[in-house]
Symmetry: C2
Subunit: 341 residues, 2 copies
């Protein structure tokens, strides 16, 4: 076993789209666990759009990563050594240990992963934060009723794919939006959405309208930008809009399009829309319900998922830059280390 670990730190704050130069890859000595601590070896790193927000300063729900700090993120790790009675060598855990190969933990925020529920990578995917984001936002805010129409973008991604499939389980019509024919075919044919529209289609608005003949009752907002503008005129009275992400806007530096904030507010009033932002931890109390329902749905084949694996931590920055552009097809993971050493 090497005595050096590998990590990705934030070298500079990106202006607009992140570049390779905003990241720096470093070696560092693998630390030794002290009293009550465990040493962790990262197997999977999850890459998620919210990370773009952590790269910038400015008000958000969480502090930014400091310059020269290890990039934040959740991963799946193996306990290599333990001075903590709650964890044993060989345990598989999920932890926000960042973009690095090894980390210490005092056990706080460490969540044991049950390998019987599915492949351990699903603990940062369909059975983890993205799946729970879909489950809680859709059921607690979106509240789809049977026969209603639910629209979600990034529909082949970790969150969007779960949103549409849960909507179908609840008897609603699911219409996805995704980038390109392959993803749209997958969303319709594999995931069972009622329809899926390519967001690159120059007639996005007209196509979406045709796919939603009864309007839109729930728009699960995870992208923002042009998709939102296509969705907006189709929202029905009393439509609900859980907002968990705005990936299309994350790289925005300045708005140069016509101001439609007044129109937005006018529609909130005339259609009695309900727009509500959330992050998954707001619904932490639902974790038990989520894991029970979602793992059952996955076992029964009612919720399918797809993983998109990038090999090696050194490729995490380029994988992340690709994620922001939709280059991934399924849940973006980075294979940091083997399942077993």
């Amino acid at each position: 076993m090497s005595q050096s670990g590998r990590r990705v730190v934030l070298a500079s704050r990106p202006v607009g789209e992140p570049n390779a130069s905003d990241f720096r890859i470093e070696d560092y000595p693998i630390p030794t666990p002290g009293d009550g601590e465990v040493l962790l070896r990262t197997i999977w790193l999850s890459l998620d759009p919210y990370m773009r927000g952590r790269m910038s300063e400015g008000p958000s729900y969480a502090a930014p990563v400091p310059i020269n700090g290890v990039m934040e993120g959740e991963g799946i790790s193996e306990v290599m050594a333990s001075n903590n009675p709650k964890f044993a060598k060989g345990d598989i855990v999920a932890i926000r240990s960042g973009w690095q190969s090894h980390a210490l933990s005092d056990g706080k925020g460490l969540r044991k992963v049950d390998p019987n529920l599915g492949p351990i990578s699903t603990a940062v995917g369909v059975l983890g934060m993205p799946g729970m984001t879909a489950y809680t936002g859709l059921l607690e805010i979106g509240k789809p009723k049977a026969g209603e129409t639910v629209v979600v973008a990034a529909a082949s991604g970790a969150v969007g794919s779960a949103v549409g499939q849960i909507a179908r389980i609840k008897g609603a019509r699911a219409v996805g939006i995704a980038g390109g024919k392959d993803k749209c075919d997958y969303v319709k044919n594999e995931l069972g959405f009622d329809d899926c529209i390519d967001h690159r289609d120059p007639n996005l608005a007209a196509k979406l309208k045709a796919a939603c003949p009864n309007g839109i009752d729930v728009y699960f907002e995870n992208v923002g930008g042009a998709v939102f503008e296509a969705v907006f005129p189709l929202l029905n009275p009393f439509a609900r809009m859980p907002v968990c992400g705005l990936i299309a806007q994350y790289n925005d530096t300045q708005a140069v399009v016509p101001n439609w904030a007044p129109a937005l507010m006018r529609n909130v009033l005339t259609k009695r829309l309900n727009i509500r932002g959330f992050i998954v931890s707001d619904f932490a109390a639902m974790y038990g319900d989520f894991l029970r329902d979602m793992s059952q749905w996955v076992r029964e084949g009612k919720v399918k998922y797809r993983e998109f694996v990038t090999e090696g931590l050194d490729n995490a920055p380029s994988a992340f830059m690709g994620l922001l552009k939709g280059a991934n097809f399924g849940k973006q993971l980075v294979r940091v280390g083997p399942d077993k050493v």
Copy 2:
């Protein structure tokens, strides 16, 4: 008694601010009630900002007034003759009979007014639609907790004054926004708000910030425009925003300010805001609770109100144009006829 009635019809659809020429005043023969009908004589006409929306075409929660149609509105009337067993001559009723001196009704939508609850004009004010808009929007969507800060604009008006006073009853801090020193003094000294800011103050944003040292937990949105832009940066995480009106935008024809829709959505996400439009009829089931609580609070002096009376139906158009500019000071009423003939 004259055989001619008087009414105000919509002559043309205003572009931007309504002008006198958008209205036409007409005489018409007072109708005779048929089987099951009652003849009504209008005593009070209520003027409310939502009426601006009814003057324009375009999607809304209600159809527009047709050209040459009688302007819509609710008033307080006396039953002059009745062929309907549910109503007797002399009954006082509230009805959406429009801007006219006399009307027929088959009894549908006719609501008897109990003169023991307060002056009959309050049935279109603090004990009517404006009061219930404040009550339902604040309690069902705003949900102020003790110690939280509630901000409302048009704070000396029919809805805003009730919002702040109910917020105080619930133990919250109430900060009003109103036009001019007289209104602000009234809001603070008579209505008991904790503070009130003049929206004409060039330092509105800074003054509002100083008045809300702990941020804003509930913004009851009834004006939109510049006030919303001052409120927006002060919203706390998990702030709630019931939206029942956007009077500052009603005359807008085109938006020429910077586009801040993306910023709005970004804040919805990062602060987990809940923005929800409503109209009072969405909460019709709460009418009993509202009337019980509000009439008690009025009797106990916990909720005060102020009426702003314009004499004569012929002056209704100018009173309405004034209302859109904040020329009224209190609930805008038009005295159409005497209490008794």
